[in-house]
């Protein structure tokens, strides 16, 4: 839900989506023929874009964070600059899985955790960073995905991280 909000807050086009099919093979214990029963999930991938000076066009793809969408991830993540991981401070467990998935794909990332002006603080930023077991270099920012400036700041945190931590061979 927050992914689309963030994308919508900065995209110059109305957020579009594509419907992707995911075929999951599930083993049938009683299937004598040994044929796997395949179930197909349809998942909508929202995206938006921002045209920047100099002919750059930045696309933002909202990608679901569940492990079963891993095949889709690899496809969408191909050639991506990095990932912005939205974390709900009240649902840290669910965020673990997403971070694991992002790290598996090798994408550089930054973490943005939701904050609302009147929300009670459940964790200090330091507690959150520790709870998520983030590398010291991983940016962690607060973000109100409804606010364009806040969303841009989160994206900027990621991009600055990409500039500062390029792989050695690309320096």
């Amino acid at each position: 839900m927050g992914k689309t909000t963030l994308i919508g807050s900065v995209s110059e086009i109305r957020p579009l989506h594509t419907e992707e099919q995911l075929t999951e093979a599930s083993a049938q214990v009683d299937d004598l023929a040994g044929v796997r029963d395949k179930s197909t999930t349809t998942v909508a991938i929202d995206f938006g874009r921002i045209s920047l000076p100099g002919g750059i066009v930045l696309y933002l793809f909202g990608t679901p964070g569940q492990e079963r969408f891993r095949p889709l991830w690899d496809d969408i993540a191909y050639g991506a600059l990095g990932a912005l991981v939205l974390v709900d401070a009240r649902r840290i467990d669910a965020s673990f899985d997403v971070l694991g998935l992002v790290e598996e794909t090798g994408l550089p990332y930054a973490v943005a955790f939701n904050t609302f002006p009147d929300a009670p603080r459940h964790h200090t930023p330091e507690q959150l960073r520790a709870a998520l077991d983030l590398e010291p270099a991983t940016p962690m920012v607060t973000c109100d995905a409804r606010e364009p400036n806040s969303s841009i700041d989160a994206l900027l945190a990621l991009v600055q991280h990409l500039i500062d931590h390029r792989p050695a061979e690309h320096r």
């Binding site: 839900m1 992914k3 933002l60 793809f61 990608t63 991506a80 912005l84 669910a94």
Partner: protein, 42 residues
Amino acid sequence: MASATSSTVDTAAVGDGIHLPDTARDLVKILVTGPFGWARPP
């Protein structure tokens, strides 16, 4: 255009600004992800 074209074009796209400007050169992408259920403010 071929007369076989059925007009299945989403006409909302025309003038919707979806088509890319001619100046578009370097297309890059960032993934935005997270678990389901980003909580709404109370």
